[in-house]
């Protein structure tokens, strides 16, 4: 057993402990701001696991996209909707949690059984290691070119969709006369006429 493998093992154990505890915290903590920050920790430890799996490019993409974009987006959403509200008690909540816990435990046992009884074709071919980024580039511009281009269209569609869904239905100036709409409508001190017809 060499030093490198011991280090790998220690890193794996530490990262998995962070991952599992962070995931439980995300699901169970009552304060949602703590959950969002713990989610960032979970994403970072997943990136560490990718580094252990010889995938430096995907680890960098994980940090950039998940920690840098998705987590910040979630924090902004919490900031925009974080109103203290007392959730009304619903009957049978404890039973529901117990039942869903049993279902998830059964799913977990099934997954573990599949993982440990399937005869995997190990050891597989030698891992490419540091050349992984080059291989990914070759894949993206040869046999996965169509999904790659479709992904760009998907990102454009979701960007436009997010803007359309999240914008307010109030214009800052009148379309015809060009004079400014009063600020109370924009700040939502008074609700616009459109919302009165919609179901509440």
């Amino acid at each position: 057993m060499t030093i490198a493998s011991i280090t790998q093992l220690i890193c794996f154990v530490a990262l998995s402990a962070t991952l599992v505890l962070g995931a439980l915290g995300v699901v169970l903590l009552p304060n949602i701001v703590y959950s969002a920050f713990l989610l960032g920790g979970v994403f970072l430890s997943v990136a560490g696991l990718y580094l252990l799996l010889n995938a430096s490019f995907v680890a960098a993409a994980q940090v950039l996209v998940y920690v840098g974009a998705v987590n910040v987006l979630i924090l902004f959403a919490i900031m925009l909707v974080n109103k203290k509200e007392n959730l009304a008690a619903i009957p049978g909540l404890g039973l529901r949690r117990l039942l869903s816990g049993a279902v998830c435990g059964g799913l977990f046992l099934l997954l573990i059984r599949v993982a440990f009884t399937t005869p995997w074709a190990l050891p597989g071919p030698e891992a490419v290691g540091e050349e992984a980024t080059i291989r990914i580039g070759e894949h993206l511009f040869s046999d996965y070119l169509l999904p790659f281009e479709l992904a760009s269209v998907l990102l454009l569609m979701s960007m436009i969709g997010a803007i359309v869904l999240a914008r307010r239905d109030v214009l800052s100036s009148d379309v015809i006369t060009g004079e400014a709409v009063d600020q109370g409508l924009i700040e939502k001190e008074r609700t616009p006429l459109l919302l009165e017809n919609s179901p509440r």
């Binding site: 599992v20 995300v26 977990f108 573990i112 071919p125 891992a127 490419v128 996965y144």
Partner: protein, 109 residues
């Protein structure tokens, strides 16, 4: 009974870790009252799937690392999903003034 520590990390360790993460995500998805937490649970499940893809790519497909390419596409789709999901959440909040999942029941019965 002899108990030996494996010299390298086995593939099954990654699969078990991903299973734990996925089941946590499913439980959170079912039981969360807050709509933002539901989106976070979906991200947890997507990350569990990504860990599986990367582990298979490293252990079983070391030369053509197709699992890593798939993981990149999953990350892309997850980013798009988070953006659209949070936009839907914002417009829901604007209409209903709440983020409680139990009160988003207009189309339920």
């Amino acid at each position: 009974m002899e108990f030996t520590i494996p010299t390298t990390i086995p593939l099954q360790a990654y699969l078990a870790l991903a299973a734990v993460l996925f089941c946590t995500g499913v439980w959170g998805l079912i039981n969360s009252r807050n709509a933002v937490r539901v989106l976070m649970s979906i991200e947890l499940m997507l990350n569990a799937v990504n860990i599986n893809l990367m582990a298979f790519s490293n252990y079983l497909d070391g030369q053509l690392i197709r699992g890593q390419v798939f993981a990149i596409f999953v990350i892309t789709v997850a980013a798009a999903e988070a953006a659209v999901g949070l936009a839907i959440l914002l417009s829901l909040y604007r209409n209903r003034e709440t983020v409680d999942m139990e009160r988003f029941n207009l189309l339920r019965w």
